[in-house]
Amino acid sequence: MIVLRLALQSLRNRWLTAALTVIAIAVSITLLLGVEKVRTGARQSFADTISGTDLIVGARSGAIQLLLYSVFRIGNATNNISWPSYQDIASHPDVAWAVPLSLGDSHRGFRVLGTTPAYFEHYRYRQAHGLRFRAGGPFSDLFDAAVGADVAAALGYKLGDRITLSHGLGSVSFIEHDDKPFRIAGILEKTGTPVDRTVHVSLEAIEAIHVDWQSGARIPGQSVSAEEVRAMKLEPKAVTAALVGLKSRLATFRVQRAINEYRAEPLSAILPGAALQELWALVATAETALKVVSAMVVATALLGMVTMILTTLNERRREMAILRSVGARPRTVLGLLVAEAGVLTLAGTGLGLLLLYAALLLVQPYVDTNYGLHLPIEPPKPGELATLGVILVAGCLAGLLPALRAYRLSLADGMTVRT
């Protein structure tokens, strides 16, 4: 007990260097745990984004690319699926339901998704959660739109507001479908998935706004008004991808093989879970690199602490001699410095945790809204506590280095400081 009290008093005496050391350790702990929070948050967010979908179908491409553009709205499709092929797949005897996805347009930086009302019925996230409307409902008119929670929050939309879609995916577009405005018919509840940042319209609406377009531009001299287009047959020619639910999970590989060997056009069918695993395998190296860098930062902070204790050791030799004179054993002197390192590491760890949660409170809403990444604010998990325990032990062990030197000096010095 006396050793701990002396360690605390000694640290208080050198409060500035001690405080800087604690801050360095705290920042490194915050970084280490922050990286882990982002990593697990990203994995959880990705894993929670899609549930209950057995297959995702798209033009022939890699599984990860198909998963990213169809579900996470990241990147673009290399090709489309023709409408007859989609219909053929949807009518496969093992298919319980199919939802077409048509991507390619945007609204003020948010992706526009053309789909059918079945999307709101079958899309599942976080295991079994279905989409629910906070206000309004799915599109009932050709020019109705249902917006995600983040779109409504970011742009201040409410039911009945008029919006226009842009051709392409830029956040600022000069090619507007401004002749065919949409009315907001529904605002979805927050899901923590890319759905929150999506403007949903019907497949027919996507067809309608492109009826007088060709190769990404308006056909010169041709203009079809919003009223005129309602009278037209608006069957899509192609869709970007499709979500497929099967009647039985046992049929998954059979249907997947059938789609992958589809004769009419080259298609890919992927299992979302398997594609996610592929994605994790791909980013595992980057994750490991991040973890290693964070661990190195912690090691550097601990090294800084050892340096601080070592540099003060010489001027503290008289302090050690005084302790020895009143009967402190060399191992008490050793314990004093190990305790000092332990106290510094403990304080750094505590402050690091505080900083982490303060930072999470501060950035969580921003990261959630802008990146769809939900960083949970929850007590440290057993794995994180174990990491902190290891750091604490490492801090005490690091303190052994100056402690052993002090031990040797206290033996060598005797009654006086021998230089």
């Binding site: 005084i322 004179s325 009143v326 033996l411 009654m415 006086t416």
Partner: protein
């Protein structure tokens, strides 16, 4: 009510310190740094040990206090041969029976005056019980400090780093005396004080040593202090030739 039982103390012979055939060399020194055939100290005696710089005065004190052990010979204190004790037992023996005053800067700068005085009891349970015999140890420390002339407002006030050299020496003396150890060892405690303050400090120290019934060994190179002591010992007279030196 029965007063707190006094810790049974080793029977104090008239000679409380006896060194014989001591040979000591610092690790790596090669030759003996100090060799003493015989030295003794009687109970209540005040001895001034004089020697020029580098003559081995501090090494002598380190041996006497059991901080280091000789390679040969015996050092008996209160009838216990400390050379036969383990290193940690010597530390414990020192804590219980020896009070030490250093030359200067001998307080923990971050501690208060009381902290520094009570530090002497931290590793010495029997000495703590002795100090607590008449009441709380903090009160005993305050009483000692008052007798040594430290102003009352300084006792629980600033940290030791804020005291003058003279005040620090008083606190160091109180730390050495608390719990009434049988042997007080002082390493040039007056070297940082001017003549007047030297005499005043020695008077206070002697008074307390006498009150405690302790013996005192003080090391100094200042021969003018000799009249204050019962006996003066020149280190070069008791230290025999060093190994490698001509006889």
């Amino acid at each position: 009510m029965v007063a707190a039982a006094a810790e049974p103390r080793p029977e104090a012979p008239s000679e409380i310190v006896r060194l014989s055939g001591v040979r000591f060399a610092w690790p790596g020194a090669g030759a003996f740094s100090l060799a003493i055939d015989a030295f003794s100290l009687r109970k209540g005696e005040r001895v001034l040990l004089i020697g020029p710089s580098g003559s081995g005065k501090s090494t002598f004190l380190s041996l006497l206090c059991g901080i280091v052990a000789p390679q040969a010979g015996s050092i008996e204190i209160l009838g216990t041969d400390t050379t036969r004790l383990s290193a940690s037992a010597r530390d414990g023996f020192r804590a219980e029976h020896i009070g030490i005053v250093f030359q200067m800067f001998n307080l923990l700068p971050y501690g208060t005056v009381i902290d520094n005085v009570l530090l002497a009891l931290s590793f010495a349970p029997a000495r703590r019980r002795r100090a607590a015999a008449a009441g709380p140890v903090a009160e005993e420390a305050a009483r000692l400090l008052a007798r040594l002339g430290l102003e009352p407002h300084l006792v629980r006030g600033p940290s030791a780093a804020n005291l003058s050299v003279g005040q620090q020496q008083r606190v160091a003396a109180a730390r050495a005396l608390i719990g009434r150890p049988e042997l007080i060892v002082a390493d040039e405690p007056t070297s940082a004080l001017d003549r007047d303050r030297q005499a005043a400090f020695l008077e206070l120290l002697f008074g307390e040593v006498r009150e405690a019934g302790a013996s005192l060994v003080m090391v100094s190179h200042d021969v003018s202090l000799a009249p204050h002591f019962d006996r003066v010992v020149r280190l070069d007279e008791i230290a025999v030739r060093r190994q490698g030196e001509a006889p």
